[in-house]
Structure formats: structure tokens, C-alpha cells
């Protein structure tokens, strides 16, 4: 059994921090399913560790103990394998179809779910505000289930992005018009916002349309919808019109 060296442990655990991911241009993926998805997508593998033999074909794997894995894993319950990949080169943005813009999304699980949703609904581009959680955060990678390689994710000053966009901008807002009654275009920018505060006022002011998912029933006491859930419904509404 090959031991994981202290310098390897130091490298891998440093990648839990955005600063080191950016500096080293590396990120961590955990669990055989996600790792295999990223390998299939031809991401460049830096190193691969597993407690089990035979999970990864044609790849050089370092077999390690459960104890060693738990030292390098960021998960409470490590999932038998961990890989370090090179962060892929950024693609250029081509305005097309639906683009999702994220204003200050903080929860890694929410970002991961939104990336997976965009992949499902064939949304090619996600534009994130600079304070949105980093998409190479290990928990985001986990939640995307491999979708991260198929969606183009960019971090930028979203006010500048929206000001330049040629497509109409739709912002999710509690006081927006009923999405089920809107005639939605097949080319649009959809903006969703922070878990606690929604979309910020300055972004709201750049929108052409405010849209809302109405609450049903007599006693409307539900404490909002989770942002990933709301994004699911918005994307479904924008894409269902393209089904013939």
C-alpha cells in the first residue's frame, strides 16, 4: 500500500480554499460517479486516490486506506475515491437561448443543483456575480453530478454583463408578474438571487421584466421557495414552450 505523503495531504486539503484552487489551477472531486463523469469529459487528471481497486479503467490510481482517505476528504463520510483535476480553460461566452445569471448565491448545494438543472434544460451559460460561491468548491462539484463540464460558468460583474446583453432580462421577484400568464421568449436572461435577500435592487433596476411563481391556496404562509427549486420552475416554464 502506497502511503499518502504529507505534501500530498497539504496540497489536497489546501484545495478546499478558493485561493489555492485559483493559484494552483486544480480542484478536487469525490466519489467514483462524479470522478468517472469528469474523466469521460476528458478533464485533465492530476492525481487519483481510491480505497478500492478496479473502479477506474485506464487511469493510474493510488490505492489508500480509509484512514488516509478521511484525512484528504472534505466530506463527513468520504466516498471511497478522491481525484484532483486541472481546472479547465474558460470558454468564451456566446449569447444564445437561455442564460442564467446568479446574484450572490451562497450555498454550494444550491449552486450545484442549479448547474445540474441548467445541464438538464440545455442552458449553455451561467453567469455568476463575483460574490457567488465558487463553482470548484468541493461541495458544488459533488452536487453537480458531473454537469459542471457541460455548462459554461463565468464569474463577472453582473451589472456590466446585463447592461451589454441583447436579450430581454427576467428577474425572479416576489412582486413580479405571474410567470404562468407570461408569453416567454426562447432567448432570454433569467436572474435569480441570494437565498435570504433575493436579487439586489441595483440588479432589479436593470431588468426588463419581474416574474414570480405564484403561491397557491387561501392561507399563503409559505416562507418563499428555495432558490434552486424556484430556478427549476422558471427554467421549466421557459423551456416548455419549445416542446412541440
Amino acid at each position: 500500500m502506497i502511503l499518502v505523503s504529507n505534501s500530498q495531504i497539504k496540497l489536497i486539503t489546501s484545495l478546499q480554499h478558493k485561493k489555492y484552487r485559483n493559484k494552483l489551477e486544480l480542484f478536487v472531486a469525490e466519489g467514483p460517479k462524479v470522478i468517472n463523469e469528469l474523466i469521460t469529459a476528458k478533464l485533465q487528471l492530476h492525481s487519483l486516490y481510491s480505497t478500492l481497486d478496479g473502479l477506474f479503467k485506464n487511469e493510474s490510481v493510488q490505492i489508500i486506506s480509509e484512514k488516509e482517505l478521511s484525512k484528504i476528504s472534505s466530506l463527513k463520510n468520504a466516498n471511497n475515491s478522491l481525484a484532483v483535476f486541472k481546472i479547465p480553460n474558460k470558454k468564451t461566452y456566446v449569447e444564445n437561448g437561455i442564460t442564467v445569471v446568479l446574484d450572490s448565491i451562497q450555498d454550494p448545494g444550491n449552486l450545484g443543483t442549479i448547474i445540474r438543472l441548467c445541464d438538464w434544460f440545455d442552458v449553455k451559460n451561467i453567469i455568476c456575480s463575483l460574490n457567488t460561491v465558487d463553482c470548484f468548491n468541493p461541495k458544488v462539484i459533488q452536487a453537480t453530478m458531473g454537469s459542471i463540464v457541460r455548462v459554461n460558468i463565468m464569474y463577472t460583474v453582473i451589472e456590466e454583463f446585463l447592461a451589454k446583453s441583447k436579450f430581454p432580462v427576467y428577474v425572479g421577484a416576489m412582486d413580479g408578474s405571474n410567470i404562468y400568464k407570461e408569453n416567454l421568449p426562447d432567448k432570454a436572461i433569467i436572474v435569480v438571487g441570494n437565498e435570504a435577500n433575493g436579487v439586489s435592487t441595483k440588479i432589479m433596476n436593470l431588468a426588463n421584466n419581474k416574474i414570480a411563481i405564484p403561491q397557491f391556496g387561501v392561507n399563503q404562509r409559505t416562507e418563499s421557495l428555495n432558490v434552486a427549486t424556484a430556478t427549476a420552475i422558471l427554467l421549466s416554464e421557459f423551456k416548455r414552450i419549445t416542446v412541440s
Copy 2:
């Protein structure tokens, strides 16, 4: 400062287990937002602890230290307050509108999100298979954001429930027909299934209709939709027809 006694600690931590919740007919809620929602809904309060004074009006609160709170909390980062409530009496099931049936949902966050969604979409009843995660699990309570008091949740043998239902049964299935092309009724049973395996074959055989959310784009490689996300889209489709 009043100290939390060992017997109190023992009682509260025992409530992390379903066995003791059922035996004692008590459950735990954490965080001032959820606790206040449950108080407003007139749930019977058993005891209330907080590191801060003045968060709860008209209630007797035991002020405790951060350290004491972390001893009784089930959260990694305890959220200043913890309450013990009496489990409310079960309501009787009245078949009406949309009912959601859950087949073996395991993740507390998913169940919590689905409860919150049902509240939003005015779904009165959720029927859970006996092996679905318990709705009084602290992580479920956390994710429901108070919606748990407004939705009737029952655990039963779902095969028997479905066999008796007068409304048409729709089951979410990868090979189902395109939901966007269906004429959906306003009275129906929607069944969604386990995170890894979907709805079980024996339940599938009891369905009148299999429905699917289609994947978009040319390269359809997305690893399914999360069950809570899929439920959001299904509920949106069933309820949007009622918007005039």
C-alpha cells in the same frame, strides 16, 4: 444563567432518534425562524432554550450558553435557539386536489424541501411509504421552514393507499410520457421515488400514468434530476392549469 441539566440534555439528544420521538411524542426544532413559525401555528411547546434574550415573546425561555446549546443541538453550527414541541395529533386524510406520495425518500433535506413545496402549491396531503425518512427528523424540520404545520403528512403502506384512491395515479418515471404534452387533471395522486432507484416496480404497476420531465438539448448526459427539483416541476405543471 440557568444550566441545562443532564436529564434535559439526555432527553433532547434522544429526540434525534425516531424511536424516542415516537415514544415521547416530542420533536426538536432549531433556529428562531422555524421555532417562531411553529409557535404561531399553535403547536404545543414543551421547552425552549436560547442563547439570546428577547427572541420569543410571551414564551418562557431558558437562557443558555453557546457551549450548552452546542451540547443539545444536532446542527454543526447551532443557530442560537432550540425548542422541543409536542408532536401534533394526526389529521384524517380527505382526498382532495393533488396528493403527493413519496416512495422511500431517504434524504431529510429532500423531504423538507418537498414539504415546503407542497405548502407553496397548496397540496394538503403527503403520503409517505413506511421507509421514508421521518418528518420529525430535526433536519427535515429545519428544511421545511415551518411548512410542516400546514401540510398533513401520513406514513402508511402506499400500495394499499394507491389501491383505494379514487383519483388517477401519476408516477414520475424516466420512460414516462412527456409531462409538457399531457392534459393533466386538477385532482390526482403524484408519486415520486427514491433518490437512487426511483419509484419501485410494484408501485409503478399500480399507476394509471407514467410521466417524465424531458431532458433538453442534443447531448443528453445529465445524471437525472434531484427528486425535490423534479417534484417542483411536476407540481408546477399540475397547478399551472388552475391559473386563470
